[in-house]
Symmetry: C2
Subunit: 393 residues, 2 copies
Amino acid sequence: MSVTAPAGFAAAGVTAGLKKSGGLDLALVQNLGPLANAATVFTLNRCQANPVIWSKQVMADGTVSAIVLNSGGANCYTGRIGFQTTHATAEAVAARLEVSAGDVLVCSTGLIGEQLDLDKLKAGVWEASLALQGDAAGSPEAGLAAAEAIMTTDTRPKQAEHRSTAGWTIGGMAKGAGMLAPGLATMLVVITTDAVLDSAQLDTALRQATRLTFDRLDSDGCMSTNDTVSLLASGASGVDADPAEFTDALTGLCRDLTLQLQADAEGAAHDVAIEVVNAVSEAEAVTVARAVSRSNLFKAAIYGNDPNWGRVLAAAGTVSEADAAFDPYGIDVAINGIQVCTAGEPDQPRELVDLTPRAVSVVIDLHAGAETATIWTSDLTHDYVEENSAYSS
Amino acid sequence: MSVTAPAGFAAAGVTAGLKKSGGLDLALVQNLGPLANAATVFTLNRCQANPVIWSKQVMADGTVSAIVLNSGGANCYTGRIGFQTTHATAEAVAARLEVSAGDVLVCSTGLIGEQLDLDKLKAGVWEASLALQGDAAGSPEAGLAAAEAIMTTDTRPKQAEHRSTAGWTIGGMAKGAGMLAPGLATMLVVITTDAVLDSAQLDTALRQATRLTFDRLDSDGCMSTNDTVSLLASGASGVDADPAEFTDALTGLCRDLTLQLQADAEGAAHDVAIEVVNAVSEAEAVTVARAVSRSNLFKAAIYGNDPNWGRVLAAAGTVSEADAAFDPYGIDVAINGIQVCTAGEPDQPRELVDLTPRAVSVVIDLHAGAETATIWTSDLTHDYVEENSAYSS
């Protein structure tokens, strides 16, 4: 159930002293080969953190030997000093693991605009590299320690695993509890596999999987500066994976991690799936579902167990005709299986809707085409406000 | 200080029994002439309430004799029955005031997806029309009653007035405390003037004024289905107004009402002005400021008196290069006068920022051009969540 599940990977999670809480805050994952193929997806935010800027350079050749991740600071908007900190961290990892610094990905998460303590980072890298040399470095416990070390406001580590009957395995870990939005957001994901695939195949599979999973999670509409999803392949199984089968399995694993992220979203009391059906295209379905997922009024109503379907339609109506074709007075809405609105008019009484379960289903039928998409979001709660008004203090 | 301030207008606010609270819930404003010129701006939401659909037809000839407004129900997504209710309300007003129903604007505000009680509406129109015949119908008290009758979650009525030395006057009332977003939002505004201006001149002036005022208010990013801003001219002063002077005065009056709406936004603890300076164009400045105003993380931080400027930049970075040209690493940010970020790096310590006052100033310098715009917003508070999770129950 971790990044160490596939053969050819070692992991460690240690305490570098970056987090005020004193918990694990530095993770190191090494690809032991024989292959060092990789693919990544980064945040679309134009304000990109120094580790993102660095890691994009690393990805120029599709080769990654190791990835180092820290919580306790985003290293974003920290200027030249911040970039030197990222670079020096990669160099420290390279020296200890005897690889090229140009093959070391760096990820950071935490507060923006504060410098990271390079001495603490270097000491953490030293300690983690020692752990990697131990017998337990490929164990589930080592993978769990890495998953714990990347947590910020997460309440639990997030891991997943898939074992193919063909003989290869995928493992993964993720962190993220707020700022989850399309284009990814304060979300760090490391996925490992021992399948034999080249970097181009990994890239195709990863983009297909993230498009349908992490990109469909929109907990609070805020896009982070640091998001990175990385996929590392060791080839240690010796098995050439069928790309289509691998993509399916990877998509399933990413969906598993996505739903774990949703379930742990900051302050959430409901896990809301907004499904738009009968849209002209998948993209239009996504656009409408995303508009609803970003309505604070809708999200607050769900928190209050209020099936306020008018707020669903008001949010859908903010989407321009160019972005999604539909008749605004021809829409149906069902909430938790109760058809509260048919063709833009009240249908079943809203009192029939039971919103006490944590899982909430909103189905919006546009009657415009045949395509469907789902966006996963959370409700807007007192705990969300509390957590995000007190985060940096 | 009300819609009755200009000559040639009568107003009334009565209790029709539409609101559960039993308060005033129906307002009627009559233009006594000699002119009946008018202009309106409606919500851009594709899901438009029945009174909006009706009132757009009324505006085809730019002539308005009266406007009737109700709280206690939005009459949106109520289908054919709902449209008939709006139509019958206009007919009832027309019969009582002896005007054409095609010259009667209708506005509604409240919950979406519930039918209004037409019998109560008709009785309210009857009572209001009786009040309009009384001696006090042009008094400030009558204007205040109308302003109170359109309140929903507003905690106070909102009125403004401007008296020109040229001899004409503008008066206005507004309601709105949530769903305030561009394209207007659960915001109803009635502005009256006794200046002599034709409908085309009124339209030009109103569009210019709303573009710089109501359209720059974005309390929670949610756009309503019912927003209507109307401007009625009686010509009773007999004074031909200079269009430029009138537009300036109208803009000032709209800004006054806008800031009253902001100050009364649901649950707000801070009134936040986000000013983007040195943008390539005014439109680009608006786009960046609006992106920041819609970041729940930024808004929650302000509530927590946390000058978390990283969230300002992270939100700005979600704007595409096509929508606003700037170097994401060349931005300055000042919060309440403290320069916390210069050229994308930390400058003054964030601890120097005092966020205890209600008024908050965020200045974002893009260093990309010479244009400026301000968006007014509110913080994200426990009271906002409370009010909007319990609204319909």
